[in-house]
Amino acid sequence: MWSWQNIVTTIFGGIFFPLTIGLIWGKLAEEYKSFGGLLAGFFVVGTVWLLNHGIGLIFEPQMSGNFPGPWSDQALAAFWGLFLADLLSGKKVNWEAIVSGCLGGILGGILLYATV
C-alpha cells in the first residue's frame, strides 16, 4: 500500500504547504492588503494544491478501492506548521481561536453531512 516513495512525497507535501504559507502570505498581505489575500489564494494555496492533491504528493490510499477512509486534507499541515512555529517562538495558546476552529470544523462537517 505505502511505498517509501509515497512516504517521502507525503512528508515533503506536509513540509512545503505550511512553509510556503508562512514565508509568502504575510508578505503579500503586507504589500497588497486584501488583494494580497487574493493573490495568495490562487498562487499559494491553488498552486500547492495542484501538487499536493491534484498530482498527489500527499498520498491518500484510503480514497480508492477497498480501503475506505476519510479525506485528510493538506489543511492539517497548514494549521499545525503555523501553530508550532509560533509556539516555538514563545507565543501563548489562544483557546478562543482553537475552540472557534474546532467548532467550525464540527459545524462544517455537519453541513457537508446534511447536504447530500
Binding site: 507565543k91 467550525g104 462544517g108 462537517g109 457537508l112
Partner: protein, 132 residues
Amino acid sequence: MNWARIAVGTITSAFVGYGVFTIWPSALARWNWLGGWLAAGIIITTGWWVNHYVNALPNKNDGAWVDMALAVWLSSLLGGNVMLTVDNGLVRASYGLYHGISIGPAMMTIILEFIGATIAGYLLYQFRRSDV
C-alpha cells in the same frame, strides 16, 4: 472566553470548511486541474478575508496562530466531500467520520502530514528568528 467571538469564528470557519469541500470537488470535476486551481482562489480568498483579514476567527497578537485550516481539515474528515456534477447534480464524493467510517485508513496520511508540518514549523521558526 468571549463566546460571541467564538460564535462568529465558528460560523465563518464552518463557511470556509463547507465551501472548500463543495466548491473544490465540483470545480475539479468540471474543469479538471484548472478547476482545482481556480477553486483555491474562489473559496480560500473569501475564507481568508472573513476569517483572517478582518479577524473573525479570533487570533491575538500574543497568541500562537490558529489558521482556518484547522476547520477546513476537520470539515472533510468529519463530513466528507460533496460535489455538483453536470450530469447527476449534487452527489457525494467521499465519506467522513459522521458516516461511521473508521479513521484508521487515513492515519498514515495524517501522521506523515504531522511530521512534515512539524519540520516546517521548526524551519519557519528558525527562518523568522534569523536576521540574514
